[in-house]
Amino acid sequence: MSAPAVELVTVNVDGREVQVPKGTGMIETALAAGVEIPVFCYEPRLGPPVGACRMCLCEVEGMPKLQAACTLTAQDGMELRSAQTSAKAAEGQNAVLEFILLNHPLDCPDCDKGGECPLQDLTFRWGPSNTRMHFPKRTFEKPIPISPTISLDRERCILCYRCTRFSEGVSEDLQLVAAHRGAQSIITTFEEEPYRAHFSGNVTELCPVGALLPSTYRFRARPWEIDNTPTVCGLCPVGCNTWATTREGKVQRILSRNHPEVDDGWLCDKGRFTFDHLRAEDRLREPLVRVRRRGFEAVGYDDAVREVARGLREAGGSVAIAFSGGETVEQASALARLVRQGLGGDAAILPDDLDPAVDAFRAPLSAIRDAEICLVLGDEPVMERAPIVDLWLRAARRAGAEVVTVGPAGSVSTPPGSAAATSAELAGGGGSDELRDAGRRLREASRVAIVWSGDDHDSGRRAATLAASLGLGDGSGLYVLPRSPNGRGVAQAWYEAGEGRGFDPSGEEELGALIVSGDEAAYDPRVAQLAERARFVFATSMFTGDHTLWAHVVAPGTSYLERDGTVVNLEGRAQRQRRVVDPPHLDELELLARVGTELGVPIAPWAAEATVDDHAELAPRAQLEAPPEFAPAASTNGAGPGLELVVYRPLFSGPGVERVESLAFQRPAPEIELAHADAQARGIATGDTVTVGLNGSGRALRAAVRRKLRPGVARIAAEHADGLGSHVEVTKA
């Protein structure tokens, strides 16, 4: 990709000449010249500048009035004088700050933003030291919980419109709006409904004052009492970079840490608010060993290690592991080596097993925004599986890209489970007219982003084949969304510990021992079945659950905030997870090291020194070996009576989220999504209660009619789909 020639222009800022590309924003231009222009409303990630706060007033040669620097762009020969050198500009900024402070309550000692507040900082630097306003300030009712996680203080609001611009132009949830006008303007949610959106928490970070604050951090700590640790979120395969704030050894909040290639500084509510699961009541704190007829007994680590080593040794090589996919690479590697090298086992359940061919089309997530055309394949909503990817897709659409979604709710409608077949058709230039058309445009475009969000076991290989056949070059990217946060790293660790894939332990024969690593695996019904056939089960988990019924030894597990190690995200980027707080017990790696000593496998009890930077680089693309051949694919789901059920795993689910009370409102409502035609045929409207099931037996759910959904298909969140088959009948209750 040849970069277009950039025209450089010379701008004079406060007497300093600086050369920048033409059209660069004046704030950035001034920064390049070493001049800081204070801002409130300006935030380039929110789209075009609005010039609302007037904090950035500057004098521009040839213009009679002061100009808002944020709305100006660099033009050749421009002369800008900021408040540093222009008395007029300084007076203007002082005036703006005086106006902002007129009705801003001086409750800084009460306000959680105090100490890390841009308004405080700028007032200190540019503002008046005394007030000339001796009238009662404007008051509002406060604080108003606009959602269980965010509280709004309208008195403190300086109406910079950052939050509404985020809601309108970034997350596109359109829920935060401004109401009334003039001095009575307020920020509110649409129709005063709770702000329920996947990215709502970001507005608390955007707010330059203490108007929008996370309720979970309310009155928890002051900036000088906290420690911020740079780490990486371990809750979905995106791996957003975060700061974890701790006070007195407890996590108090999670903030985003801008990695421009991964998250652009945004963080979803799951990543932001799930930290409270560390303090869940049902957390395991000691190893538990099953004692005959007495159930579980809490024991010391020495006894637990001995018991585990005994159980594994007695398995005689018939050992299998069930991974969660959330483990660090080091943890997974320790487990894999224990089994494959120490015990002679070769069986594992891997949550993700991507073909390495996808690495030939590796690209940073930010490449999606620059794509000309994006293709999204698969049944799983991208928002629910890797939310940041959805934001990148929206950014691409706003930048003018075409986003083609292929699936049961896509712009190109295909039956559920047909991603593999569709990809073959796209690659071969066949399929419906729409598909052929899309295929043609994909081939013509020079920058393409393909997002694969499905659960087919060979999606990686199929996606790579599709990418190869479409001729994806530099500037294009292929993103296969794994099921689990570190699924790619775990699989890699498993492969490296032995030879090849080994085998999947889902046979019928008896198993010597089963290692269940983590809560996600412990919750998996497949693992529970496997455990029934195992003579010895060793599980690590954070919380008590069903698995405590069938495991023989349970060791307390750690959260991603409590361990050190490497994780590999969906791009294939290795990032460093840091221990933010100490777990209340031994962490898994130390336990495994001790088990390793018993079994003669040397395992380091801690992760090696940081191998990657705080802002991890993406490894270069791998060479594509001969593109794999297409295996003929058929729709996985067959025909059946009633509506075909698509079950997706919602973002706000999993053992961690379920234990966070303040996130309960984000979890999917008990509802079933129906296509418009199906709903009409059954006389169902959104909000109706419907009976879902087969042969008269069924459960009551709320109906949600979706125009985009394919007729004959119904969609439901996994946690409400228990016991429902692949096909259901839906009737109005």
Binding site: C53, R132, F135, S185
Partner: protein
């Protein structure tokens, strides 16, 4: 024949005939300019507008021809070009656009079609003030008539020009008279001004090139096409060509709209045409261009009504709303009432206007109550000064300029409010006929009094 001083160009024949009917309008030569214009090259039309020296009648007085020439040609832009007519006439004291729409709606429509042809637009929006209910009915009826006669729609008058006119009714916000806020409102968003650049000529409604003009400006276009740009430029004085509708109101005997040649002295309008001040009271001040322009004192009443003379006198012609204030008025009360209006109408987007107008009202209220302290007058002036020029759109300036001028020109009266601890009029002052008291507005909101919305 018109009474002395009047120079009716736009409103000629409007007294004799009902020009809201198409047939009547055609009978006096209406729609003839349209047929000529459609056969003229658009470039020539713009040239003619430039030559006419027609300056925008909305308030800013920007030459219309120049504005039209900023619009890219249809082959230079991938987006459609739009014309937007600003009929959101909300400036206190201004009622000229409603008169034009009520009496010569066809001239407005004719002007729209000609302008559309000149800039290559196929869609025109008329953003009509929400409270103008009768005007809407009249305009809509005229539009229907024009449509039937083939003056609007596809293939106008046998040419391949297509023009669609959409009348959009506002929802009652003064700020939507500001061109970019109008565009936002038109797009269905919150009516708040956009930051410029990009100017509407490049990126206006739906991010497309848009020409925005006032109703009176547009209504003048057929006249210019009819008589030729150069000929029109001979009307009026240098830099202020043509005639204008002045809305005379306040303490005068005969208020109303008067079409005058630009350059006519203010005295002539107030005394000769308006019949002077009732009951022989003395003139105190004149607001020459709507509530947002600086005030003129009685001594300055000989200023000519043209752009340059007004600028020289430190004020503006604005929207041409001449408000006459007699000796009964307390200028502090007037200042308070004007400031209250702008506080109420501030959109809340930019800081100086949102917070500053409220502060101004608070200070003025204190002044009026006689509770102000020495120094607060300077504080008020300083607040005005800090709003002026620091805002996103002209509304902030429009609030600060008049107040600053009241204090500057009637400083003594303001000072007495402080020194004497109350109004020197001792409750005898009256703004009757100048502005509606704020209580009346509130009472109306509460439904306690019925104010006829349209006569």
């Amino acid at each position: 024949m018109t009474p002395s001083g009047l120079h009716e160009v736009l409103l000629r024949h409007a007294d004799e005939r009902d020009l809201t009917k198409r047939a009547e309008y055609e009978a006096v030569g209406g729609y003839r300019a349209l047929t000529t214009a459609l056969r003229t090259d658009p470039g020539e039309l713009v040239e003619s507008l430039l030559a006419s020296g027609l300056r925008g009648r909305g308030g800013a007085g920007f030459p219309m021809g120049r504005k039209a020439s900023f619009i890219p040609k249809p082959d230079q832009t991938p987006n459609p070009i739009y014309l937007t007519v600003n009929a959101d006439e909300s400036e206190p004291g201004t009622f000229k656009d409603r008169e034009l729409m009520l009496r010569i709606p066809h001239a407005v429509i004719e002007g729209i079609v000609i302008t559309c042809h000149a800039i290559g637009a196929e869609t025109a929006f008329v953003y009509l003030r929400g409270e103008y209910a009768t005007e809407f009915d009249v305009m809509a009826a005229a539009l229907d008539e024009a449509h039937e006669a083939g003056y609007v729609g596809p293939g106008i008058a046998g040419t391949d020009t297509n023009v669609t006119i959409v009348i959009h009714r506002g929802a009652g916000a003064y700020i939507c008279g500001e061109e970019t806020a109008l565009l936002e409102s038109l797009e269905g968003k919150r009516g708040q001004p956009r930051s410029k650049p990009p100017f509407p000529a490049i990126s206006g409604v739906y991010a497309s090139p848009t020409l925005i003009n006032n109703v009176e400006t547009i209504a003048t276009v057929p006249t210019i096409v009819g008589m030729g740009g150069e000929e029109y430029a001979k009307l009026g004085v240098e830099n202020s060509a043509g005639t204008r509708l002045f809305s005379l109101s306040g303490n005068v005997v005969k208020g109303g709209n008067y079409e005058l040649e630009l350059g006519t002295p203010l005295r002539e309008l107030i005394y000769d045409l308006g019949g002077g001040i009732p009951d022989g009271r003395a003139l105190k001040a004149v607001i020459p261009g709507g509530s947002s322009v600086p005030v003129l004192t009685a001594d300055e009443v000989d200023t000519a009504l043209d752009f340059d003379a007004m600028a020289q006198a430190g004020t503006m012609l604005g929207s041409g709303a001449v408000i006459v204030i007699d000796e009964r008025a307390c200028m502090v009360q007037l200042g308070l009432r004007v400031a209250q209006f702008y506080m109420h109408e501030s959109c809340g987007k930019c800081t100086p206007c949102r917070e500053g107008t409220r502060w101004m009202v608070q200070i003025l209220r204190k002044l009026e109550a006689g509770e102000a302290e020495q120094g607060e007058l300077d504080l008020l002036l300083n607040v005005c000064d800090r709003i002026l020029g620091n805002c996103l759109c002209p509304l902030g300036d429009a609030a600060a300029m008049p107040i600053a001028s009241y204090v500057a020109k009637f400083r003594e009266e303001y000072q007495r409010h402080i020194d004497e601890g109350g109004c020197p009029f001792g409750g005898e002052s009256s703004l009757e006929g100048v502005v509606a008291p704020v209580d009346q507005h509130h009472a109306h909101l509460r439904g306690q009094i019925e104010v006829p919305i349209h006569a």
